[in-house]
């Protein structure tokens, strides 16, 4: 194109793949949703699984309580996968599955569902997210410790490169890093470091065949990125990533084929910046963010899914998701962006931005490498993300970073969008969980139990095998075929691999600079400490399976900075664990965070467990809690509820100090009591 002065492409580009991240309640209900979306012009599927499926528990497991069918579809066995894909020709469909710790299992179920349709695994197209490092860093749906998790990933790559060659076995995710507060430099550097860890593991797994297959493996690694509202810089970020990726392919892995060196990515634009206040403004944000990943042809997304305007309120309804799909369609079919070569080529500003990001990212990658690579550097990266996120929140609190409708221009008319009985969101029928429990029990009773036992024993044998020569995908597919369940597969591997808790990053987070706000808070806490006789102690934790711990982490860090003793319990806690901790630790207040919509079930369960343990301290709740649920929670005994519109954490702290203080006055001079 160099000497051709034409500013237009000879032929308009084909649009990217359009998807909607969807799934809820049951396989059957989600299948209907998918068919509806495809009829509306969606060109690929993006499956959202519920948290028990993502973390490897069956619906009747204690940890699954309240989570079944909430943030996605429960897929427990081959029957569920068949129902989910019913009437959707799997040889033609391109399916992206947001599945990580249990990715090998869900791919196995997908392969078996294809067999049922008479489709060979060779012709399957799609992606399993399968990025465990970002689960340790930001998303929390891990199941096994780092080493065996990396082994599962390497086994999947080794299996698919030969047997499911059109499948992307892993999507390296920078998306969740930005959601956890990453700066563009951190997003680039940590994602690239993560990719290196995965590719190195794959190269080792392939052993003698690495030379022959490594280029294919490299060519099948795709990325899943984020795009925030600062869309010019975000576009530069993607150009920087494509430069680093090509460099990595050539220099570290000896790839020379241009096609395989191309940086391929899918995108879901930013949810972190979407507000609960004046939620209609989120539509503008989403459109602008979509521009970041579509404007420049040289760094354009291969696949896009856009969040819905009401994500900060709760689960989006089909209509909300349709609106987001229509944004993509207007961009692709009405505007002229697909008619030009790269419109930033030769731009000094864009090149300058890219160079700046590259320099920062290379420095940060060197630090990760000094730690021994991405797996070893998880604690370092986690602490760095917690720090960045705190800085971001402080910028918003101080007004330095403007968020329209939230910290500036807050006057508003009543929104007709949220003016219905449900508050403009989807509410999953609470009966779903009981149905699913019933359904999995029926499944277990009706299958060939001997075949399942044998398949799981074989899985355990391979997992235990010396040197790990055997590929775990083989017994995994056999277990899927035999009718094993998600929980059984994961349980078998947990028995061999052990379980794991990722670092929380909060212990290492540096102390906040003391501004007036914080100094005042410290005074309040010190006064309260004198009244209590000891430092106020708060328990912060997340009940249920939701791993989105960013909010809880920020509360924990700020409470410490304010002078409290903070017991931070992290994610995936049962009500019994929370009650035991509260009792044993002698805390004065408990802060719980839930973003998955399971608060209606889990919060009353925690309060009942506290009651059983005779712990009488106030409970405050934060998360994505729809307005209409607040009264119900307070009735259950919750002292205060905080939602995304309560973005000022200092104010929340001030509130909590007040709640503990009031409790103390009510119960006499010392809170010690005699339990």
């Amino acid at each position: 194109m160099s000497s051709d002065p034409s500013a237009r492409l000879p032929e308009r580009d084909r649009p990217w793949m359009m998807r909607t991240y969807a799934g809820h309640s049951t396989a059957k209900a989600s299948n209907e949703l998918y068919r509806g979306n495809l009829a509306k012009g969606q060109t690929g599927l993006s499956v959202a699984f519920d948290l028990p499926t993502q973390t490897g528990y069956d619906p009747d497991d204690e940890l699954a309580r309240g989570e079944v069918g909430k943030v996605g579809v429960p897929v427990v066995h081959r029957g569920d996968m068949a129902a989910l894909m019913d009437g959707i020709p799997l040889d033609e469909m391109n399916t992206s599955m947001t599945i990580n710790a249990t990715a090998a299992w869900l791919l196995a179920l997908y392969i078996v569902a294809a067999e049922d349709q008479g489709v060979e695994q060779r012709s399957l197209q799609g992606t399993t997210q399968n990025d465990i490092i970002k689960e340790f860093l930001a998303r929390g749906t891990y199941a096994f410790p780092p080493a065996p998790s990396m082994r599962l990933i390497a086994d999947m790559i080794a299996y698919t490169v030969e047997h499911v060659p059109k499948w992307n076995p892993i999507n390296i995710c920078s998306y969740h890093l930005q959601e956890a507060g990453a700066t563009p430099v951190q997003e680039i550097a940590y994602a690239m470091s993560n990719a290196i860890a995965v590719l190195d593991a794959a190269r080792e797994r392939l052993g003698g065949r690495a030379d022959e297959l490594m280029a294919d493996v490299f060519g099948r690694i795709s990325f899943f990125v984020n795009a925030g509202v600062r869309f010019v810089e975000e576009h530069a970020k993607l150009r920087a990533m494509s430069i680093l990726w090509e460099e990595l392919g050539r220099e570290r892995y000896g790839v020379s084929d241009e096609r395989r060196l191309r940086f391929r990515y899918g995108v879901q634009v930013n949810s972190l910046g979407l507000t609960e206040a004046q939620p209609e403004n989120n539509v503008q944000r989403i459109v602008l963010e979509a521009l970041a990943v579509t404007l420049g042809r040289d760094a354009r997304a291969r696949a896009i899914q856009l969040p819905a305007w009401n994500e900060a309120l709760g689960l989006p309804r089909p209509w909300d998701q349709q609106w987001s799909l229509r944004i993509q369609q207007v961009l692709a079919y009405e505007t002229d962006i697909l008619e030009y070569p790269d419109i930033f080529e030769g731009s000094k500003v864009m090149d300058g931005l890219v160079a700046e990001l590259l320099e920062g990212a290379r420095e940060e990658m060197a630090i990760v490498s000094e730690h021994g690579g991405a797996v070893e550097a998880v604690p370092y990266m986690k602490a760095a993300l917690v720090d960045s996120h705190r800085a971001r929140i402080q910028r918003i609190e101080s007004g330095e970073q403007v968020v329209v409708g939230q910290n500036r221009f807050t006057e508003t008319e009543v929104s007709p969008l949220t003016d219905d009985a449900e508050g403009g969101i989807l509410v999953v029928d609470p009966a779903v969980e009981a149905e699913q429990i019933e359904s999995v029990r029926r499944w277990r009773a009706e299958r060939d139990q001997q075949a399942v036992d044998a398949a799981l024993a074989e899985l355990a044998r391979v997992a235990n095998s010396e040197q790990h020569h055997e590929n775990l995908m083989v017994p995994t597919i056999a277990a899927a075929r035999a009718g094993a369940t998600t929980g059984e597969w994961a349980h078998t591997l947990r028995e061999v691999f052990g379980s794991y808790r990722a670092p929380t990053g909060v212990g290492e987070a540096s102390a906040a600079p003391a501004d007036n706000e914080l100094s005042q808070l410290r005074e309040e806490v010190a006064d309260l400490a004198e009244k209590l006789g000891r430092r106020p102690k708060i328990l912060v934790g997340k009940p249920g399976l939701d791993g989105h711990s960013n909010g809880a982490e920020q509360i924990a860090v700020r409470a410490r900075d304010a002078g409290m003793d903070v017991v931070y319990e992290g994610i995936r806690l049962t009500p019994a664990q929370i009650a035991a901790s509260a009792l044993q630790e002698g805390v004065h207040v408990i802060g719980l965070s839930i973003l998955s919509g399971s608060h209606r079930e889990l919060i009353p369960a925690v309060i009942a467990a506290l009651h059983d343990a005779e712990v009488d301290v106030p409970v405050v709740v934060g998360g994505i809690i729809p307005e209409q649920d607040v009264a119900q929670l307070k009735q259950a005994g919750v002292a205060a509820v905080y939602t995304p519109k309560d973005f000022d954490i200092s104010r929340i702290m001030h509130d909590i100090v007040g709640i503990v203080g009031a409790e103390t006055n009510g119960h006499g001079p010392s809170s010690n009591g005699s339990a």
Binding site: G507, V566, A580, G668, S670, S671, S674
Partner: protein, 341 residues
């Protein structure tokens, strides 16, 4: 937080007197419950011991009196084990494995996890309990995160007293701290048995041992034995260093807490052995005396020590006291000496 509650803050709500009467027996009751090995008394006991409110201090005195060797008819039966080591050495994983082993043999276990990040000026983040895997319905396990004392690796006074109090009810009381050198010395002051945890390839402990910064612990544990050669080499180096120091009593063990665990049973029996070898009564007595001196100094400072006639005189005075006295009683002996002077 006020550190001089002896003068009282005088800012108590009007209901204080009624509350006072109602609460009068709280300390004694808790003490008696612990003496009868009622484990459910432990959380409230710890709340009380950590409190600096004057009324609570009085209750603490009553509680400790119920648990003094005189009241118990001997030393508290529990085994106080100090576990210390640098960050990342694998203490939490090791403690999970130990906990399972102790519980499997029916022993009740209390763990006091001392957080190193806390400073008196600010709050603290206590995250360790999440890393220790146990059944929340198991009433015979208690894990309490506590803030550290003023020095790195130091113990807060409440932790010392808590370990002694809980040893009346629990079979095993673990004090977990972070660090090497100072931390080990502080723990050695209170624990019956001191375990230092080292990860393979780290030279700190070796250096500290050779230079005398660190007293020799009862048991040295090299973790991550699954790493093979490097763990074996570390174990060998430590054994050699101990021999050159002329120390024979210290056991050096290699363990792996990853499935399948290795060396945990050996560690459990080594701890049990150390306990039978050691003169527990002498250690406990020393712990109470040094604890009393620390408490007194914290309360009354250098001026108080001078009034008694100096640190050495104070120590001598404590050594003359009945070995059956509890820490608070010993503190009162020193306070009486001040009053006389």
């Amino acid at each position: 937080m006020s550190d001089s509650p002896s003068t009282g803050s005088g800012e108590r709500p009007p209901s204080a007197n009624e509350d006072q009467q109602r609460k009068d027996s709280v300390g004694a009751t808790l003490g008696k419950r612990l003496r009868e090995r009622d484990l459910s008394a432990a959380p409230a006991t710890l709340n009380l011991l950590e409190s600096s409110a004057p009324a609570d201090r009085e209750q603490t005195a009553e509680l400790l009196r119920e648990l003094s060797p005189a009241a118990l008819g001997g030393e508290a039966p529990g085994h106080i084990v100090g576990v210390t080591g640098p960050p990342g050495a694998g203490k939490s994983t090791l403690l999970s494995a130990l906990l399972h082993s102790w519980r499997a043999s029916g022993k009740s276990v209390a763990m006091l996890a001392v957080d190193p990040s806390s400073k008196r000026s600010g709050g603290s983040l206590l995250g360790d309990r999440a890393r220790i895997d146990f059944d929340p319905a198991d009433r015979a396990v208690l894990i309490r995160s506590t803030a550290a004392g003023e020095r790195l690796g130091g113990l807060a006074p409440a932790t010392r007293v808590a370990a002694q109090a809980l040893a009346a009810a629990f079979d095993v009381v673990v004090i977990e701290t972070v660090g090497v050198g100072q931390a080990e010395t502080e723990v050695a002051d209170v624990a019956d048995t001191v375990v230092v945890v080292v990860q393979p390839g780290s030279g700190d402990v070796l250096q500290f041992l050779k230079s005398g910064i660190m007293e020799t612990p009862d048991v040295l544990v090299v973790t991550k034995a699954d790493l093979g050669q490097i763990a074996l080499a570390t174990r060998r180096d430590l054994s050699a260093a101990l021999r050159s120091l002329g120390t024979k009593a210290t056991r050096v063990l290699a363990v792996s807490s990853l499935p399948p665990p290795q060396g945990i049973d050996e560690l459990v029996s080594a701890l049990e052995e150390q306990r039978t070898i050691a003169d527990i009564a002498a250690r406990r007595l020393r712990a109470r005396r040094s604890g009393a001196l620390l408490d007194f100094a914290a309360e009354h400072g250098e001026r108080g020590l001078r009034a008694v006639g100096g640190r050495h005189t104070a120590e001598q005075l404590l050594e003359q006291q009945d070995p059956g006295l509890d820490v608070q009683a010993l503190v009162r002996v020193l306070e009486t000496a001040v009053a006389k002077a």
